[in-house]
Amino acid sequence: MSSEQKALSGAEEARWREAPWQLIPEEPRPPHLNMALDEVLTERVARGERPPTLRVWGWSGPCVVLGRFQSVKNEVNEAAAAEHGVEIVRRISGGGAMFIEPRGAITWSLYAPKSLVEGMSFSESYRFFDAWVVDALRDLGVDAWYEPLNDITSSGGKIGGAAQARRGAAVLHHTTMAYDMNMPLMLDVLRIGREKLSDKGVASADKRVGPIRQQTEMLRQDVIAHMVSSFRDRFGLVDDRLLPEELAEAERRVAERFSRRDWTHYLP
C-alpha cells in the first residue's frame, strides 16, 4: 500500500464529518473507572444525552484488561500480577487481554450512533473506526495498517487491538495501542499459550508486539496530540469534558459491579 493512500476513503470521511464530535481529553483514572465510563458514555450517546464523542483514556496505574468472555486463569498469572501491583479488570466488550502501563499504552474510545456504521458488517466497522488512527500513525512515519478482524499492526509487529460493544442505538469502539512495552513484565503477567500464536508464524512471545516507539522518536503525549489534531482536521472536534453526573454514575457502577469479584472473575 502506498504511503500516499489513505486508509479512510473520501466517502467514508464525509460520513464521519456528519457527526458533531466532541473530545473528552486524557486524564489519569483508575482502571475500573475507565471500564465503567465506557458503559455510561455509550448509554448516554444511545439515549441522545451526549453527542458522538472521542475519549482519550488516561490510566492511574498498571492493569490487565480482560475481554468480556475471557477466563482469568487462562489469561493472567494472578500471583505475578499481585506481586507487581497490576490490577485485573474486565471490560464490557469481547476480544483479548491487554497489558497496560500508564505511560506505555494509548487507549481511546469512540461513542457513536449506530447510523455511522449503517450497512457495514462488523468486520467492516472495525476497519472503519480504526482507519483514521492508521492514517495518523502513517503521518508520523509509522508503517501501520489494519489487519482483520480487530488489529492495528505494522512491519515491526502488532501495535494494538480494538473491540466493540453495542448498547441501544450506540456503538462503542475502543482501541488500545502499545506506545512502549515492558516485555519481560508483560510476559510475566500474561499467559500467552501456543494455540494463540498458532496462525501468527511466530514461535513465542506475544505475536510480536510492535510498540509505536520502535518506529518514532515522538513522545507519547505528542503522538496523542497528533491523533487528536488529525481527527479534528478531518472530521471536526469540539473540546468537551466529562460531566459530574457522568463521573458519578460511573463511580456508582464501579462500586456496584466493575470492582466486584463477581464481575472481574465471573469466568474464573
Partner: protein
C-alpha cells in the same frame, strides 16, 4: 474442571471449552475466549448445546448442537460452532487435568 481444549480459528480468535465428563456425558461446560459475541448476554448459549451431550459424538455433531442453540440475531465473530467443536474434540483427547486449572 476436568477437560480443556482450545482452538484458534486461523485469522480469527481463540475459543476454549472446559467441562467434566460424568457417566459419558459433558457436564458443567464453560466456553471462554477472545472472540466477539453480540449481545454479550448470549454467552451461555454457546455452552447450552454441549451440556449433557454424549462424549461419544462426532465433531460435526457437536457443531450442530452448538449451532442449534444460537438464537437468531445473535452474532458470533472470530469463532464458530465448528471452531467450538474442534476445541471440544481436543478437550476429549486431552487427559483430565488434576486439581483443575493450570
Amino acid at each position: 474442571m476436568g477437560q480443556r481444549g482450545e482452538f484458534k480459528t486461523p485469522g480469527g480468535k481463540l475459543v476454549a471449552v472446559e467441562f467434566d465428563v460424568t457417566d459419558g456425558v459433558l457436564r458443567d461446560v464453560v466456553v471462554t475466549g477472545d472472540f466477539f459475541l453480540y449481545p454479550e448476554e448470549a454467552l451461555p448459549m454457546l455452552a447450552r448445546g454441549l451440556e449433557g451431550s454424549p462424549a461419544s459424538l462426532s465433531e460435526p455433531e457437536f457443531a450442530t448442537r452448538v449451532a442449534r442453540e444460537i438464537e437468531p440475531g445473535v452474532e458470533l465473530l472470530g469463532t464458530s460452532p465448528e471452531g467450538i467443536a474442534v476445541a471440544v474434540m481436543r478437550a476429549l483427547q486431552a487427559r483430565p487435568e488434576a486439581g483443575g486449572g493450570r
